[in-house]
Amino acid sequence: MKTVRSMVLVSSDPVSLQRGGQDVFNAMQHHIKAFGLEDEISLIQVGDVGRHDALPLVIVYPEAVIYGPVRADQVAYLVEEHLYKGRIAAEMEASVRELTGRIAWLHARKGTLPAEQRIVLRRAGIIDPTDIEDYILNEGYQALGKALSEMQPADVIEEIKKSGLRGRGGAGFPTGTKWGFVAREKPGKKYIICNADESEPGTFKDRLILEGDPHSIIEAMALAGYAVGADEGYIYIRGEYVLAQQRLKTAIQDAREMGILGKNIFGAPFTFDIHIHSGAGAYICGEETALIESIEGKRGQPRSRPPFPTTAGLWGKPTLVNNVETLANVPPIITQGADWFRSFGTPSSPGTKVYTIMGNVNITGLIEVPMGITLREVIAFYAKGMKGGAAFKLAQTGGSSGSIIPATLQDTPMDFDSFSKAGVSLGSGALLICNEDTCVVDLAKVLMNFFRVESCGKCNPCRIGTQRAYEMLDRISTGEASLNDLDKLVELSENLYMLSNCGLGQTAGTPLKDTLNYFRAEVEAHIRLKVCPAGVCKMEAMVPQY
């Protein structure tokens, strides 16, 4: 790789592209050439950098100056000022030093958000995701090299166990233990599956990892294959993630050409290859046994368990299924050690967590922070407060199967154990933050509609239960329900939890339970007074009483 004076990164995630990111990139290319700077400046398109309020972004290194949103017609000025004359493009400076949707700049990426700690996203937005050399120059494939030359498979599993890494897909199962289950199956055909069917509403962390740093997942899957004795891997990626699929395809191809995938990797007696399997639009395929059915070319309906996939998974063979974010943590743990990893987060939930922030807040996007920070911190520091100074009412975590967290719990540390003690769940890391204009009945109805639509229909409790729950919530929202219905809703959510075959049905009742736990008065107002306190529900049944 040649030495350059400056590196210019242009964001190229779907939102940037929709807002003219490609034109900005093309204009950059054109003007850099026009000034004859093409040998001194490297220009690359990178994945998401996490500032969705100001896309498309242009970032100039080594100064780490961020401009955004940038229009194609401003590029000539930017190139002349910053890259040719070497000073910050003053006209593109905002009156405030923060990105607020207007053109702005700020120094040092680390300073953009307080105390962000990036492990899985450390390269996203910094390297060129389509260039394997860029990955290698940034410590890429070091972990795989270290494992293959210095470590036995059992050592790799031991290191992951010691790190305390827990699954980031929602359930929080200890990763090392899961690896151990697959490793102890008798030698023979085994599979590694990367679950990239990210479909929890409000969750897009995996997309950003795949778009910004695809090689990290390839490296992690190869490490997993070495540790458990598998020689084949599948990335099951949702059909809607077109850009991520392209990036992965390129990455796998490049890795094969470099001998990082294939036979005798790094000269070791280890063979591993990866296939991409695209989904076709079904939330349930994020459930690991449904995902396996889907790879086999069938309807994505979950299997009955046991046997668990670790014993009998893809084509009946032992299979390790891990979420994208979980895998992205693996290479740094191998290179830097379990003790280093444990220095982040809380003792029972070490490491970081990527959260997606959305809803009625000033800044939306994603952050990676140590486990155990509180919702209050997220809203105040990272989201820069509620939009319009409104009051915080509730947050919905982890997509639709996550909990509804009332304002009273906003000081609970966000880690697996503290949340479960408080009776709520962390889920997949989506934080939908709502103000007082949000009606809990309306929100619960939207969430239940999601489950009703996405239920695969295999088992009755889920197929019928979610439909009936939706109908009851609909009646509450129009003022036609009776208090009796609330008891039925409680019963229904218990039945969903106890009787459903898989996680979808089991967690579908969670929003109902939380709503009635924390916001019963508001729900009852819909029934007793035929009034929606937030003014959202239309209350069609309300007729004047004479």
């Binding site: 076709a280 639009g281 086999e296 959305m358 949000t438």
Partner: protein
């Protein structure tokens, strides 16, 4: 040659191309259906029949798969497919008003296709672009931070 047979031939061509790329094993069924659906806009009966013949799989089983996944359609769709995200993150930031505006502007209900075959309106679950909700996707174009007032201008971009 009538229009019917011509389109029939196109269907067979598309299926052949997809099978050539993916092969005829059962595990490739979803990629094949994805390709055909993308090329033709939906999965016509002739295509299903041809795939069934080539993969030696019963049509019932193919239909079972095709009807299961949202991205596959067994019904013809309009030239432009509008997907509206109805999940909670888009809903709480004003999605409901956007959807009302879409329905009014198009005079369509969800899952309907306009009589001139121009538009199909469908609702979808989360598309993973929640930070810029409400989100509307037309064909492959993602529109974020949509409000009801922008709808006519967005629709006007499509012929």
């Amino acid at each position: 040659m009538s229009v019917g047979t011509k389109s029939n031939q196109t269907v067979i061509e598309v299926v052949r191309a997809a099978i050539e790329q993916h092969g005829t094993s059962r595990e490739e069924l979803i990629p094949i259906l994805n390709d055909v659906n993308r090329a033709l806009g939906y999965l016509p009966a002739e295509a299903m029949e041809e795939i069934s013949r080539r993969l030696h799989e019963p049509k019932s089983s193919l239909f079972g798969v095709a009807s299961f996944y949202h991205m596959l359609s067994t019904k013809p769709r309009g030239r432009h497919v509008i997907q509206f995200c109805e999940s909670a993150p888009c809903h709480v930031v004003g999605g409901r008003e956007v959807f009302e505006a879409l329905k009014n502007e198009l005079r369509l209900q969800p899952d309907e296709t306009s009589p001139d075959g121009k538009w199909t309106l469908i609702t979808t679950s989360c598309l993973g672009v929640c930070s810029v909700g409400p989100v509307v996707v037309i064909n492959d174009d993602v529109y974020g931070n949509v409000d009801a007032k922008k709808i006519p201008e967005i629709l006007a971009r499509y012929a």
